[in-house]
């Protein structure tokens, strides 16, 4: 009988703890348990057999920590041999017991993935792939990825299992009592991602006892459409006379597990501290219970690494601003690989209330797959909203889906055969909800009927790939109403039809409707309300538009989606009556939501609010670090004076003043940086102006900055970057944990005059030294400045640096002496 058949009718039982049983048999603290697969196979067989005799169905191999990081090539033990022996030991026990399945056990790698730690997603995938291949070769029956405390790592493990084997894959996560992963993800986000990746069962293990797991199990059962697994510890641990003991016994363990089984959990077992006795009691109580597979929950869900967004009655706002169409500044940012600008677009939309961010970085002449990957990585390292991957470049789509930390929204597929053949396999492989445009080879039908027919064809074709209707959002499409006066009605009718005919979910890019008309917001907002009334589930729109957000908040209040109008009152209750003029955008109004990060600077003591401007020049604003005020001042100044004049006679002197104060010890780092940020904001205004007139500001020269290989603490380097940019240097920031080769390659290719390196720890100074040595060989013209907590003047000399910079101002001064003065000398 196969596991996936058996699970349809009865509870399946996993085994219990392994570590404590091995310790009881003589495994020493610090000894790697996996080595016993080879050294003491008889012990492993005995333990597996005890569990099987206690009634468990699934024995897990002793391979929790068996990966290339712990067993490097050429070490004392061969990884493949360890895994093979582990599977053989479990298989021998199964053969002797006459029943059971062997689960290849995969625990966490022990390292955190980037951007949290230093392990690449691809590297994590490779580590798991190796284990999967060895386990399959040895004849495992299923794969169990367990004790995963990071969803991203779980994704690497499950993807490796799914792509390199045909075995059933189970995955269990370790949640705390609040239902959170150590990396912050909640239950719903984990379930969405794992189901998207096609696991055959999912659940929770370790960390808690069965009592504490009940609530989390209930949450999972409510939303999961695949069998649910619960493998708790033997209770909550405490230390007694140097030994770990648990707060409940076998009897209590079994009793609570029976309750969990009765709640509907399909696979039951144990983790740390549980023994064959615990499993025996559990099996005794649950053996006769019948069960069926969970029903399809039919929920349309996407997720980020922290939370999920459900598309149902309550409409979802997808921010459309990360898109270069019609935006010259955005195009420039793409050409310059200016991720900071793109990030800012994302943050602003989040501050204004977007639930999901659309990401479109397509521009002729750029490497879109690379740009898409970089952008998605950057966004998901800072912003916790789910992303909508928006591209027609299939390579870019796949790259982004692969490294995405969650279950993404995909934009888009359409009714063309070619499109479906290309996109559906990706959706099936990586999981995701896909936007389906109701157009095909013959274009966009004029009628709702025509569009619904295409929708039906899309649903049917998706089903052939195993993609469920819940993972498809039908885009009813809207054409500009100025060219077709029936256009809006057709769209609305299509929305209605998708609900009625298929019970499906819908999405719409709302802004197209007003193309070619004046005051587009007016039409957009009304159309948006009409679409919402037809049950639109998600809108791709500009959340920075206050008119649109008003339509959204009003609709929710009117449609019984905002209890006691709480959200509406929160947002608009405090506004003065005159603050609600039509057509004003949130960026200009004083809405509380609009004041995310960007409003910080305005709240200072001397600043006052934006409305009450007292006489204060640009240079004062910069000295005091008042960002918004500085922007206003520079706009005023630009009416009368040349950009360069403003830079040289207002901004630079202010920066010098602050820099000197910092050096003298009368001003401190936060102030120095607030001033720098105010100056930067003012520069942005000037840059926008110059982009309009085709001028550009001359940079003094390029400086490469990098935090060296092995070091992931880059705060100091980033401070230096902010200041150097203020002083008109072009900074090429290579990031953290940067290989010496990469630094040398960039220095040579761009022939830069100066490289700045940072290192925080004594353990990473050697890679700083190595970088310097290589730079001397390949780029002898380069000056090298170094900084970081453990460095001193003397230490810097011994590793061959040209200059030790004790702080950020010192690096600016050194750059001035190397680059500016040299230039003068050359002249």
């Amino acid at each position: 009988m196969k596991l996936l058949d058996e699970i349809k009718r009865r509870k399946i039982f996993c085994d219990g703890g392994m570590g404590s049983l091995l310790q009881a048999r003589g495994l020493k603290a610090g000894e790697l348990p996996e080595t016993w697969n080879l050294l003491r196979p008889e012990v492993l067989r005995e333990i597996h057999e005890e569990y099987l005799m206690a009634g468990c169905d699934i024995v897990t191999t002793n391979t929790f920590g068996a990966n290339r990081l712990k067993f490097p090539a050429g070490g004392e033990f061969d990884l493949k041999e360890i895994i093979k022996a582990a599977v053989n030991n479990a298989r021998a026990a199964v053969n002797r017991a006459g029943h059971g399945w062997v689960a290849l056990d995969m625990g966490p790698t022990g390292k955190l993935l980037k951007p949290l730690g230093d392990l690449d997603f691809d590297h994590a995938y490779e580590l798991y792939r190796e284990v999967v291949e060895a386990g399959c070769e040895a004849g495992a029956d299923l794969i169990l990825a367990e004790t995963m405390s990071d969803g991203y790592e779980a994704k690497a493990a499950v993807l490796a299992a799914r792509e390199n084997s045909s075995l059933p894959v189970f995955a269990t996560m370790i949640f705390d009592e609040k239902g959170k992963l150590l990396t912050g993800g909640d239950v719903e986000s984990a379930v969405a991602m794992l189901e998207g990746l096609g696991v055959h069962g999912l659940g929770i293990n370790c960390g808690l006892g069965p009592v504490q797991m009940k609530g989390i199990a209930a949450q999972i059962l409510k939303i999961a459409s695949v069998p649910v697994i619960v493998n708790p510890n033997a209770g909550l641990p405490r230390s007694e006379g140097g030994k770990t003991v648990y707060d409940i016994d076998e009897e209590q363990f079994g009793a609570v597990m029976e309750e969990i089984g009765d709640m509907g959990v399909h696979v039951l077992g144990g983790c740390c501290g549980t023994t064959p006795e615990h499993i025996r009691e559990l099996v005794r109580r649950c053996r006769e219970k019948v069960q069926t597979l969970p029903e399809e929950k039919n929920r349309t869900v996407v997720s980020s690494y922290t939370h999920a967004v459900v598309m149902d009655r309550d409409p979802v706002i997808i921010g459309e601003r990360i898109n270069p169409t019609g935006k010259s500044r955005f195009k420039q940012a793409l050409k310059d690989h200016d991720l900071e600008y793109i990030l800012q677009e994302g943050v602003t939309q989040q501050d204004h209330g977007a639930h999901i961010l659309d990401v479109n970085v397509g521009l002729p002449g750029i490497d879109e797959p690379q740009m898409m990957e970089d952008t998605v990585k950057e966004l998901q390292s800072v912003i916790d909203l789910p992303l909508q991957i928006d591209t027609s470049d299939l390579k870019a789509m796949e790259r982004a889906m692969r490294i995405y930390n969650g279950k993404p929204l995909i934009n888009s597929v359409n009714g063309k055969k070619e499109s479906m053949e290309a996109v559906f396999p990706l959706v099936k492989r990586y999981g995701g909800v896909v936007v389906a445009l109701t157009l095909d080879e013959s274009g966009i039908p004029d009628t709702a009927q025509g569009r619904l027919d295409i929708a039906e064809r899309i649903y049917n074709t998706a089903a052939q790939y195993g993609i469920k209707p819940k993972d498809i959002l039908i885009d009813a499409l809207c054409l500009t109403v100025s060219s077709d006066s029936k256009g809006a009605l057709t769209t609305l009718k299509t929305l209605q039809g998708v609900k009625e005919r298929f019970g499906g979910k819908t999405i719409l890019g709302v802004s197209n409707i007003s193309f070619g008309l004046p005051q587009r917001e007016i039409i957009n907002a009304s159309f948006f309300t009409m679409a919402l009334a037809q049950g639109l589930n998600a809108a791709i729109m500009n959340p920075n538009s206050e008119a649109m957000m008003r339509a959204y908040y009003s609709f929710r209040a009117l449609a019984d989606l905002d209890r006691q109008c709480g959200d509406y009152i929160d947002r608009y209750g405090k506004l003065p009556a005159e603050g609600v003029g039509l057509g004003s955008t949130a960026e200009k109004s004083s809405l509380p939501q609009a004041q995310g990060l960007s409003a910080q600077g305005a709240k200072g003591p001397a600043g006052g609010s934006l409305g009450v401007r007292t006489a204060m020049g640009l240079s004062d604003c910069i000295r005091r670090g008042l960002k918004e005020r500085a922007q206003e001042e520079v706009k005023d100044l630009l009416k009368e004076r040349e950009a360069l004049d403003i830079i040289n006679h207002e901004m630079i002197p202010a920066l010098d003043y602050v820099g000197k104060g910092f050096e003298k010890g009368t001003l401190f780092l936060p102030q120095l940086l607030m001033s720098a940020e105010a100056a930067k904001a003012a520069f942005e205004v000037i840059k926008d102006r110059m982009a309009g007139t085709g001028e550009s500001q001359k940079k003094k020269g390029t400086v490469i900055l990098a935090t060296v290989k092995g070091d992931i603490h880059d705060i100091g380097k980033n401070i230096v970057k902010v200041l150097l940019e203020n002083y008109s240097y072009e900074v090429l920031d290579l990031g953290k944990d940067v290989l010496p080769e990469k630094i040398v390659r960039e220095a040579v290719e761009r022939h830069v005059p100066l490289v700045g390196l940072s290192a925080l720890m004594t353990t990473t100074v050697p890679s700083m030294e190595e970088t310097i040595i290589r730079l001397r060989q390949k780029a002898p013209w380069v000056k090298v400045m170094v900084g970081g907590a453990v460095l001193t003047e003397e230490y810097a000399k011994t590793i061959g640096a040209d200059q030790y910079c004790k702080d950020a101002m010192a690096s600016v001064n050194y750059a001035e002496s190397v680059i500016v003065q040299k230039e003068r000398a050359d002249r």
Binding site: L669, M674, E677
Partner: protein, 214 residues
Amino acid sequence: MNLRETLRYLGYRGHKPDEQTLSLIEECWRELEGAAVKKALYREFPLGFLDDGRLDMGCFKTKSQALSKNLADCGHVLLFAATLGIQADNLIRRYTRLKMSKAVVMQAAAAAMLEDYCDEINEELKQAYEKKGLYLRPRFSPGYGDFPLECQPEFLRGLEAGKRMGITLTDSLLMVPSKSVTAVIGVSSQKGDCRVKGCESCPQKECQYRRKAI
């Protein structure tokens, strides 16, 4: 909120902050209090002094004169770990991208918060042990003075700190989450001098962040 320590980490050396910085510090503490997921773990091991001068801490052996001095009359050690969780790192990373001034203040506030948290747990332990007639020595962390960082993998494994509190190591032995501490706390039947702790016990006397005696 521990303003004094936050300012020390920001390099204020006794100077008063301006109002804008002060409100930024308050804001950072508020956000951190909301985000941090504090966890602490400790486990007692018998302490052995080996003939070759090394110390045997149960789950690892190490050599450090400073630590040997610190543990001179101890029979046991507590291996201690604490963290603010990856959520503190997330905040710092977020502001590193969006607002550097806030990132540096956040970084300082998190360092101060972690130290306070360690002190709090340490104090509880101290009182619990004193009831048993035992006395704790000051916390001493790998990386302080000549106590090598190389023991970190075994140290953390001995506590199961990866699984139980999410502390991992990079290839160069830095802890992630970065706002994490590991420390050895000596347990002795003799009352000892407990005044010198953490910062003051470090030999880097010229460090600009060094705590000044009050």
